[in-house]
Protein backbone atom coordinates (compact mmCIF):
# COMPACT_ATOMS: atom_id res chain seq x y z
CA UNK A 1 0.00 0.00 0.00
CA UNK A 2 0.88 3.68 -0.10
CA UNK A 3 1.66 5.16 3.28
CA UNK A 4 1.74 8.71 4.61
CA UNK A 5 3.22 8.54 8.09
CA UNK A 6 2.57 10.85 11.03
CA UNK A 7 5.92 12.45 10.19
CA UNK A 8 4.80 13.15 6.63
CA UNK A 9 7.00 10.53 5.06
CA UNK A 10 5.51 9.12 1.87
CA UNK A 11 6.28 5.49 1.08
CA UNK A 12 5.05 2.70 -1.14
CA UNK A 13 5.50 -0.57 0.70
CA UNK A 14 5.37 -4.30 0.19
CA UNK A 15 4.28 -5.18 3.77
CA UNK A 16 2.53 -8.41 2.82
CA UNK A 17 0.60 -10.07 5.65
CA UNK A 18 -0.39 -8.59 9.01
CA UNK A 19 1.16 -5.30 10.16
CA UNK A 20 0.44 -2.85 12.97
CA UNK A 21 -0.23 0.75 11.98
CA UNK A 22 -0.85 2.21 15.43
CA UNK A 23 -0.25 0.60 18.80
CA UNK A 24 -0.50 2.73 21.94
CA UNK A 25 -2.29 2.47 25.29
CA UNK A 26 -5.47 3.91 23.78
CA UNK A 27 -5.75 2.55 20.26
CA UNK A 28 -4.51 -0.40 18.24
CA UNK A 29 -4.86 -0.55 14.45
CA UNK A 30 -3.71 -3.53 12.41
CA UNK A 31 -4.00 -4.21 8.68
CA UNK A 32 -3.59 -7.27 6.48
CA UNK A 33 -2.26 -6.80 2.95
CA UNK A 34 -2.42 -9.21 0.01
CA UNK A 35 -0.78 -9.21 -3.43
CA UNK A 36 -2.64 -7.19 -6.07
CA UNK A 37 -1.52 -8.87 -9.28
CA UNK A 38 0.71 -11.80 -10.16
CA UNK A 39 4.30 -10.89 -10.83
CA UNK A 40 4.30 -7.65 -8.86
CA UNK A 41 5.45 -7.07 -5.29
CA UNK A 42 2.59 -4.57 -4.81
CA UNK A 43 0.02 -5.44 -2.15
CA UNK A 44 -3.22 -3.84 -1.00
CA UNK A 45 -5.17 -3.85 2.23
CA UNK A 46 -7.84 -6.51 2.65
CA UNK A 47 -8.53 -6.27 6.37
CA UNK A 48 -8.48 -3.51 8.99
CA UNK A 49 -8.89 -4.11 12.72
CA UNK A 50 -9.26 -1.22 15.16
CA UNK A 51 -9.25 -1.70 18.93
CA UNK A 52 -10.30 1.10 21.25
CA UNK A 53 -8.56 0.03 24.43
CA UNK A 54 -11.10 0.49 27.17
CA UNK A 55 -9.04 -1.30 29.81
CA UNK A 56 -6.45 1.43 29.82
CA UNK A 57 -8.90 4.28 30.44
CA UNK A 58 -12.08 4.86 32.40
CA UNK A 59 -13.48 6.83 29.48
CA UNK A 60 -14.75 3.95 27.32
CA UNK A 61 -15.34 0.24 27.25
CA UNK A 62 -13.12 -1.78 24.96
CA UNK A 63 -14.45 -1.77 21.40
CA UNK A 64 -13.29 -3.61 18.31
CA UNK A 65 -14.07 -2.70 14.72
CA UNK A 66 -13.28 -5.12 11.91
CA UNK A 67 -13.57 -4.50 8.18
CA UNK A 68 -12.77 -6.97 5.41
CA UNK A 69 -12.54 -6.16 1.73
CA UNK A 70 -14.81 -9.01 0.65
CA UNK A 71 -17.84 -7.60 2.48
CA UNK A 72 -19.53 -4.25 3.02
CA UNK A 73 -18.12 -2.02 5.73
CA UNK A 74 -19.82 -2.93 9.02
CA UNK A 75 -21.88 -0.07 10.44
CA UNK A 76 -21.06 -1.01 14.03
CA UNK A 77 -18.36 -2.33 16.29
CA UNK A 78 -18.32 -6.12 16.48
CA UNK A 79 -20.61 -6.03 19.53
CA UNK A 80 -23.31 -4.31 17.45
CA UNK A 81 -22.98 -0.89 19.10
CA UNK A 82 -21.94 2.49 17.70
CA UNK A 83 -21.10 4.25 20.94
CA UNK A 84 -19.15 3.76 24.14
CA UNK A 85 -18.28 5.57 27.32
CA UNK A 86 -19.80 8.45 29.27
CA UNK A 87 -21.52 10.99 27.00
CA UNK A 88 -20.63 8.83 24.01
CA UNK A 89 -16.91 9.52 24.20
CA UNK A 90 -16.43 6.98 21.39
CA UNK A 91 -18.78 7.32 18.40
CA UNK A 92 -18.85 5.37 15.15
CA UNK A 93 -20.66 7.03 12.24
CA UNK A 94 -21.46 5.71 8.77
CA UNK A 95 -21.12 7.94 5.72
CA UNK A 96 -21.85 7.65 2.04
CA UNK A 97 -19.20 6.39 -0.34
CA UNK A 98 -18.42 3.39 1.82
CA UNK A 99 -16.79 5.27 4.68
CA UNK A 100 -17.02 4.91 8.44
CA UNK A 101 -15.53 7.26 11.00
CA UNK A 102 -14.68 6.61 14.62
CA UNK A 103 -14.21 9.65 16.84
CA UNK A 104 -12.56 9.11 20.22
CA UNK A 105 -13.32 12.30 22.10
CA UNK A 106 -11.07 11.88 25.14
CA UNK A 107 -7.99 11.77 22.93
CA UNK A 108 -9.42 13.93 20.12
CA UNK A 109 -8.66 11.23 17.60
CA UNK A 110 -10.43 10.58 14.31
CA UNK A 111 -10.12 7.24 12.51
CA UNK A 112 -11.52 6.65 9.01
CA UNK A 113 -11.94 3.36 7.18
CA UNK A 114 -12.96 3.39 3.53
CA UNK A 115 -13.83 0.72 1.07
CA UNK A 116 -12.34 1.61 -2.30
CA UNK A 117 -13.19 -0.95 -4.91
CA UNK A 118 -11.91 -4.32 -3.78
CA UNK A 119 -9.63 -2.91 -1.12
CA UNK A 120 -9.65 -0.91 2.10
CA UNK A 121 -8.08 2.40 3.06
CA UNK A 122 -7.34 3.88 6.47
CA UNK A 123 -6.74 7.38 7.79
CA UNK A 124 -6.02 8.68 11.29
CA UNK A 125 -5.68 12.10 12.88
CA UNK A 126 -4.43 12.26 16.44
CA UNK A 127 -2.61 14.68 18.76
CA UNK A 128 1.14 14.86 18.35
CA UNK A 129 1.80 13.93 21.98
CA UNK A 130 -0.17 10.72 21.55
CA UNK A 131 1.86 9.81 18.47
CA UNK A 132 5.06 10.38 20.42
CA UNK A 133 3.63 8.56 23.43
CA UNK A 134 3.92 5.34 21.49
CA UNK A 135 7.59 5.02 22.15
CA UNK A 136 7.26 6.60 25.54
CA UNK A 137 7.94 5.73 29.11
CA UNK A 138 7.39 2.01 29.22
CA UNK A 139 10.98 1.04 28.59
CA UNK A 140 11.30 -2.58 27.53
CA UNK A 141 7.54 -2.84 27.16
CA UNK A 142 7.05 -0.14 24.55
CA UNK A 143 7.74 -0.81 20.94
CA UNK A 144 7.02 1.76 18.29
CA UNK A 145 9.40 0.18 15.81
CA UNK A 146 6.64 -1.86 14.23
CA UNK A 147 4.02 0.84 13.90
CA UNK A 148 3.94 1.78 10.24
CA UNK A 149 2.22 5.10 10.98
CA UNK A 150 4.95 6.09 13.43
CA UNK A 151 8.14 4.70 11.91
CA UNK A 152 7.13 4.01 8.34
CA UNK A 153 7.90 0.76 6.57
CA UNK A 154 11.22 -1.03 7.21
CA UNK A 155 13.69 -0.19 4.45
CA UNK A 156 13.59 -3.72 3.07
CA UNK A 157 9.82 -3.45 2.60
CA UNK A 158 9.86 -0.23 0.58
CA UNK A 159 9.16 -0.20 -3.13
CA UNK A 160 10.61 2.26 -5.56
CA UNK A 161 7.60 3.95 -7.18
CA UNK A 162 9.29 4.14 -10.58
CA UNK A 163 11.39 1.00 -11.00
CA UNK A 164 8.91 -1.35 -9.29
CA UNK A 165 5.70 -0.18 -10.89
CA UNK A 166 4.06 -2.33 -13.52
CA UNK A 167 3.88 -1.67 -17.23
CA UNK A 168 0.38 -2.78 -18.07
CA UNK A 169 -0.45 0.74 -19.19
CA UNK A 170 1.89 3.46 -20.54
CA UNK A 171 2.71 6.38 -18.28
CA UNK A 172 0.75 8.85 -20.44
CA UNK A 173 -2.42 6.77 -20.35
CA UNK A 174 -2.11 6.19 -16.62
CA UNK A 175 -1.62 9.90 -16.00
CA UNK A 176 -4.68 10.67 -18.14
CA UNK A 177 -6.74 8.16 -16.17
CA UNK A 178 -5.60 9.61 -12.85
CA UNK A 179 -6.30 13.19 -13.90
CA UNK A 180 -9.84 12.23 -14.92
CA UNK A 181 -11.95 12.17 -11.78
CA UNK A 182 -13.96 8.96 -11.73
CA UNK A 183 -15.01 9.40 -8.16
CA UNK A 184 -18.52 10.68 -7.51
CA UNK A 185 -17.53 12.07 -4.16
CA UNK A 186 -14.30 13.87 -4.85
CA UNK A 187 -13.70 16.36 -7.59
CA UNK A 188 -10.34 17.69 -6.48
CA UNK A 189 -7.54 17.06 -8.92
CA UNK A 190 -4.93 14.66 -7.69
CA UNK A 191 -1.61 16.29 -6.84
CA UNK A 192 1.57 15.51 -4.97
CA UNK A 193 2.19 11.92 -3.98
CA UNK A 194 -1.45 11.04 -4.57
CA UNK A 195 -1.05 11.62 -8.29
CA UNK A 196 2.22 9.65 -8.36
CA UNK A 197 0.66 6.82 -6.40
CA UNK A 198 -2.36 6.69 -8.67
CA UNK A 199 -0.05 6.43 -11.69
CA UNK A 200 1.88 3.62 -9.96
CA UNK A 201 -1.34 1.71 -9.29
CA UNK A 202 -2.85 2.17 -12.73
CA UNK A 203 0.39 1.24 -14.50
CA UNK A 204 0.62 -1.84 -12.27
CA UNK A 205 -2.96 -3.03 -12.63
CA UNK A 206 -3.74 -2.04 -16.21
CA UNK A 207 -6.79 -0.60 -17.91
CA UNK A 208 -9.46 -2.75 -16.24
CA UNK A 209 -12.08 -2.00 -13.64
CA UNK A 210 -9.50 -2.22 -10.88
CA UNK A 211 -7.68 0.76 -12.40
CA UNK A 212 -10.81 2.81 -11.82
CA UNK A 213 -10.95 1.54 -8.27
CA UNK A 214 -7.37 2.50 -7.58
CA UNK A 215 -7.83 5.95 -9.11
CA UNK A 216 -10.92 6.42 -6.94
CA UNK A 217 -8.97 5.21 -3.90
CA UNK A 218 -6.31 7.86 -4.54
CA UNK A 219 -9.00 10.56 -4.76
CA UNK A 220 -10.57 9.37 -1.51
CA UNK A 221 -7.22 9.26 0.26
CA UNK A 222 -6.44 12.79 -0.90
CA UNK A 223 -9.90 13.92 0.22
CA UNK A 224 -9.11 12.67 3.73
CA UNK A 225 -5.83 14.58 3.70
CA UNK A 226 -7.54 17.75 2.48
CA UNK A 227 -9.84 17.46 5.46
CA UNK A 228 -7.50 16.18 8.17
CA UNK A 229 -4.08 17.55 7.20
CA UNK A 230 -4.49 20.10 4.38
CA UNK A 231 -1.19 21.89 5.03
CA UNK A 232 0.72 18.76 4.02
CA UNK A 233 -0.37 19.12 0.39
CA UNK A 234 1.83 21.36 -1.74
CA UNK A 235 -0.29 21.18 -4.89
CA UNK A 236 2.72 19.90 -6.73
CA UNK A 237 2.07 17.97 -9.89
CA UNK A 238 4.61 15.56 -11.29
CA UNK A 239 6.21 16.10 -14.66
CA UNK A 240 6.88 13.39 -17.17
CA UNK A 241 10.60 13.94 -16.65
CA UNK A 242 10.31 13.36 -12.90
CA UNK A 243 8.19 10.27 -13.35
CA UNK A 244 10.15 8.72 -16.17
CA UNK A 245 13.91 8.38 -15.70
CA UNK A 246 14.33 7.41 -19.39
CA UNK A 247 12.45 10.44 -20.68
CA UNK A 248 15.53 12.39 -21.75
CA UNK A 249 16.90 9.42 -23.73
CA UNK A 250 13.57 8.82 -25.42
CA UNK A 251 13.22 12.40 -26.50
Amino acid sequence: PHLKTFKNEYQTCRVRGAWPLIDNPYIGVQVTNEPVVDGSPATATTKVTIIIRGRSTPCADEKTYEAASDASLPATFIDGTQRSGPDASVVLTVHEQQRIEIYVRYIETTLIVRQAGRYLAFSARMPEELVNFSGGADGDFSDSSLQLCVRGCPASERLDPISERGHKLPWNKAMERCRRSDSNEVTNNLTDHYLDWCVFDVMTTGDGASANDFAAAAHSAQADVLRLDPSSLKNKTTTHREQNPYYSHAS
Binding site: T12, G17, W19, L21, T43, A44, P58, V131, D140, V225
Partner: protein, 119 residues
Protein backbone atom coordinates in the same frame (compact mmCIF):
# COMPACT_ATOMS: atom_id res chain seq x y z
CA UNK B 1 9.58 -16.92 12.08
CA UNK B 2 10.38 -18.39 15.47
CA UNK B 3 7.54 -16.89 17.48
CA UNK B 4 6.49 -20.38 18.65
CA UNK B 5 9.95 -21.06 20.06
CA UNK B 6 9.71 -17.88 22.16
CA UNK B 7 6.19 -18.81 23.26
CA UNK B 8 7.34 -22.24 24.43
CA UNK B 9 10.13 -20.67 26.44
CA UNK B 10 7.63 -18.24 27.98
CA UNK B 11 5.33 -21.11 28.98
CA UNK B 12 8.25 -23.04 30.43
CA UNK B 13 9.29 -20.07 32.58
CA UNK B 14 5.71 -19.46 33.73
CA UNK B 15 5.49 -23.12 34.83
CA UNK B 16 8.90 -23.07 36.43
CA UNK B 17 8.07 -19.98 38.48
CA UNK B 18 4.58 -21.21 39.27
CA UNK B 19 2.79 -18.22 37.72
CA UNK B 20 -0.60 -19.51 36.55
CA UNK B 21 -1.53 -16.47 34.44
CA UNK B 22 -0.36 -12.91 33.73
CA UNK B 23 -0.41 -10.84 36.91
CA UNK B 24 0.98 -7.54 38.19
CA UNK B 25 4.05 -9.01 39.88
CA UNK B 26 7.77 -8.53 39.47
CA UNK B 27 8.16 -12.22 38.64
CA UNK B 28 5.66 -12.09 35.80
CA UNK B 29 7.14 -8.83 34.51
CA UNK B 30 10.56 -10.46 34.33
CA UNK B 31 9.15 -13.36 32.33
CA UNK B 32 7.27 -10.97 30.04
CA UNK B 33 10.40 -8.91 29.49
CA UNK B 34 12.35 -12.03 28.53
CA UNK B 35 9.53 -13.06 26.20
CA UNK B 36 9.61 -9.64 24.50
CA UNK B 37 13.38 -9.82 24.22
CA UNK B 38 13.15 -13.24 22.55
CA UNK B 39 10.49 -11.96 20.14
CA UNK B 40 12.57 -8.92 19.22
CA UNK B 41 15.37 -11.29 18.31
CA UNK B 42 13.12 -12.86 15.69
CA UNK B 43 11.66 -9.58 14.44
CA UNK B 44 13.06 -9.56 10.93
CA UNK B 45 11.81 -13.02 10.02
CA UNK B 46 8.43 -12.43 11.70
CA UNK B 47 7.39 -9.29 9.83
CA UNK B 48 3.87 -9.69 8.53
CA UNK B 49 3.14 -12.61 10.89
CA UNK B 50 -0.17 -11.98 12.67
CA UNK B 51 0.74 -14.13 15.68
CA UNK B 52 4.01 -12.28 16.16
CA UNK B 53 2.52 -8.78 15.96
CA UNK B 54 -0.42 -9.70 18.17
CA UNK B 55 1.86 -11.23 20.80
CA UNK B 56 4.12 -8.16 20.77
CA UNK B 57 1.11 -5.90 21.14
CA UNK B 58 -0.45 -7.96 23.93
CA UNK B 59 2.79 -8.16 25.92
CA UNK B 60 3.35 -4.42 25.57
CA UNK B 61 -0.16 -3.75 26.80
CA UNK B 62 0.13 -6.15 29.74
CA UNK B 63 3.45 -4.59 30.69
CA UNK B 64 1.84 -1.18 30.68
CA UNK B 65 -1.29 -2.30 32.56
CA UNK B 66 0.74 -4.06 35.24
CA UNK B 67 3.21 -1.17 35.55
CA UNK B 68 6.05 -3.55 34.74
CA UNK B 69 8.66 -0.86 34.06
CA UNK B 70 8.03 0.50 37.52
CA UNK B 71 8.08 -2.93 39.15
CA UNK B 72 11.28 -3.88 37.40
CA UNK B 73 13.20 -0.68 37.93
CA UNK B 74 11.54 0.35 41.17
CA UNK B 75 11.56 3.95 40.08
CA UNK B 76 8.75 6.23 39.09
CA UNK B 77 8.51 6.50 35.35
CA UNK B 78 8.67 10.02 34.08
CA UNK B 79 7.71 11.73 30.91
CA UNK B 80 4.05 10.78 30.63
CA UNK B 81 2.11 13.21 28.51
CA UNK B 82 -1.00 14.87 29.96
CA UNK B 83 -3.49 12.47 28.41
CA UNK B 84 -6.55 11.06 30.15
CA UNK B 85 -5.62 8.54 32.80
CA UNK B 86 -4.28 5.36 31.26
CA UNK B 87 -2.79 2.30 32.89
CA UNK B 88 -2.61 3.91 36.33
CA UNK B 89 -6.40 4.08 36.46
CA UNK B 90 -8.41 1.00 37.34
CA UNK B 91 -10.75 -0.32 34.65
CA UNK B 92 -14.14 1.36 34.78
CA UNK B 93 -17.09 -0.79 35.69
CA UNK B 94 -20.65 -0.08 34.64
CA UNK B 95 -21.37 1.18 38.16
CA UNK B 96 -18.57 3.68 38.28
CA UNK B 97 -18.84 6.18 35.45
CA UNK B 98 -15.77 8.27 34.83
CA UNK B 99 -15.97 11.93 35.76
CA UNK B 100 -16.73 14.10 32.74
CA UNK B 101 -13.61 16.21 33.20
CA UNK B 102 -11.41 13.14 33.20
CA UNK B 103 -12.65 12.14 29.77
CA UNK B 104 -12.16 15.51 28.16
CA UNK B 105 -8.86 16.08 26.47
CA UNK B 106 -7.79 19.51 27.71
CA UNK B 107 -5.39 21.93 26.12
CA UNK B 108 -4.30 22.92 22.65
CA UNK B 109 -2.83 20.30 20.44
CA UNK B 110 -0.94 19.93 17.23
CA UNK B 111 -2.36 17.10 15.22
CA UNK B 112 -0.66 14.47 13.10
CA UNK B 113 -2.14 12.50 10.23
CA UNK B 114 -1.43 9.04 8.87
CA UNK B 115 -3.03 7.42 5.83
CA UNK B 116 -2.77 4.08 4.03
CA UNK B 117 -4.44 3.07 0.78
CA UNK B 118 -3.95 1.37 -2.58
CA UNK B 119 -2.13 -0.02 -4.37
Amino acid sequence: CKVDKCSREYERLMDERDIPSPEPSTEFCQVARDYLSCLRGTARSCRGNLNYHSTMSTLGRLGSEFNCPRLLTNITSAGHVPLPSSSSAPPRTTNTPAPKRECTYQGRHRFKHCGLFGD
